[in-house]
């Protein structure tokens, strides 16, 4: 069953009155449990596509349907609420709240959802264990390495049990070992808990792990292959 369906997505930016077409009629679909890498050169439209799938940017044309809901037609208010309950985000530069500890960063989104305290704590500790940061539960981001911070970001993205996770260049700021470690955790979560991951990346290590690779160039999908075929 398709969890995400993208139909005819076009995005045109007006840069100093000169229109720039970032995406040009993209049609894609994603199924539950996929581990997908969207690749392509800089400026090809990877991040724009991810932003539109995540509902933080609006397409000029086309529709994004997530689990049967056309999010392009939602008001900003409803879109924000939809994101909170259905989509997890992992950013290139972690974007953790600097004054909160590992546990508090993870708990934050659950507090936004208004969950009860015991449930929030239980879920946060589960996720901290899942990303292997039990000894860093009460550390603030400035006491964590880049890899550890990104693992906290993954745990935060998973906190609300989203339908899928969008990860924009999650390994770009990490050294090889940290990147491998992070990808192993994500892959494990994907295999064991059937969580859908969609990456935008340049990183060969991510491509190596991905089971589906979508290549975008000049705002168009030029290739969409399963990893078995890539190999």
């Amino acid at each position: 069953m398709n969890i995400i369906e993208i139909k005819g997505i076009t995005k045109i930016y007006d840069i100093k009155t000169m229109p720039f077409q970032a995406l040009n009629g993209i049609d894609l679909s994603f199924q539950q449990g996929e581990f997908v890498a969207i690749v392509g050169p800089s400026g090809s439209g990877k991040t724009t596509l991810l932003n539109i799938i995540g509902g933080i940017d609006n397409p000029t044309d086309g529709t994004v349907i997530i689990d049967g809901v056309n999010i392009t037609g939602l008001s900003n208010w409803k879109k924000t609420d939809f994101r909170m309950h259905n989509i997890g985000f992992v950013f290139q530069s972690y974007n953790l709240i600097p004054v909160l500890t590992t546990k508090e960063n993870i708990e934050f989104i659950l507090q936004l959802q208004g969950r009860d305290k015991a449930d929030i704590e239980k879920r946060a500790l589960e996720l901290i264990e899942a990303v292997g940061l039990m000894n860093k539960t009460n550390s603030r981001p400035n006491k964590l390495s880049g890899g550890e911070q990104q693992r906290v970001a993954v745990a935060r993205a998973l906190a609300s049990k989203p339908k899928f996770i969008l990860a924009d260049e999650p390994t770009a700021n990490l050294d090889s070992k940290s990147a491998e470690n992070l990808l192993d955790i994500m892959e494990k979560l994907n295999r064991e808990e059937n969580i859908t991951f969609i990456f935008s990346t340049h990183d060969a290590r991510v491509m190596k792990k991905a089971r589906r690779i979508i290549t975008i160039e000049d705002g168009k999908v030029i290739d969409d292959v399963l990893r078995e075929k890539v190999i």
């Binding site: 609420d81 309950h85 709240i97």
Partner: protein, 386 residues
Amino acid sequence: MIAAVALGVFAGVFMIAFMNGMVDARLQAIIHTEISSVQMHNPEFLANSDFSSRIPDADNVVQWVSKVDHIKGVSKRLVITSMIASAEANTGVKILGVIPDIERTVTNIGDKMIEGTFLESHRKNAIVIGKKLAEKLKVGLNKKVVITLQDAQMNITGGAFRVVGIFETDNSMFDEMTVFTRYNDLCTLTGLKTTEAHEIAVLVDKDSNSGIVTDVLKFHYPGLDIQDWTQLSPEAGYLISAMNQYLYIFVLVIMLALCFGIINTMLMAVLERVKELGMLMTIGMSKVRIFLMLMLETLYLSITGGFIGIICGYLLCRYLERVGLNLYFWEEAYKSIGYSSMIYPKIELNMIVYTALMVVLTGIFSTLYPAYKALKLNPADATRTK
């Protein structure tokens, strides 16, 4: 930001208390040193200070008035405008002929003596003059001065008086223009009866009771001109209203500075946290919640800073209310306009509440623009900000 708010509020509280203390000291000087709470005159006296405009049965009036509620003291006076001369100089003065012991019940001039006494010796034709006048006439204690004035028959007369005391108040003009002699000496010199007076000065227990007492006296003595201190010294009333206006302007200036400080700080906070705000929007924090978050942040900072500022300002003012703040280097300037250089800042609870309320309102108002800027952020761009 906490430090900036605390400093601004501290300065505000202190300046309000300082100005309040200054005005209060001036009012106390006007009432307790210069004019007392209420004065009674023959209606024509105030218009032209006419020597013949007297209260004929002053003793009976004094006796009746002293029984009215809220009265602390009643003193009859002769008030004569005359010339005073020494061997060196001469000038115009207002002579107050008083009964020293009774006068002490309505004014504190007896406590302002820097040399000699307030007419305590029984020496005939004794006079007490101000320090400023003593300097002008170049006379000191036990020196003689000559007073020239009108008598009861409207003839010019004069007498030699010996300086038995020199006083100094916070109003150098009062010190230069006012002298005190014994009531009886002045009666003898002018030929007035000892039951007559130009003025009856009344001191009431509380300044706020002056109006009530004035009404009672007016009702009982419709033929006399009876005025309280606000009418006798209109500049005192203007002083209060002007100072209130200055205080409003002053508070407004401080709050404006605070407002700009908060806007600047919060704008910086928003700009520094574009990425964080973008992330919060992305993961599902609504714009209303972001607005409220920024509003609460500012409120917490303002309240914390305001609280620190108010407490520090309050403590300092309470301390200075006890020991006073001596601005001796501006003594001359202060005295020339009737103020004491020793200021006792006066802080009141309503000022604290008012200031705290203003800080909170300023905090809320000042956050609107930075919060608006935050709400205009696009989460897609904000999360990728370098």
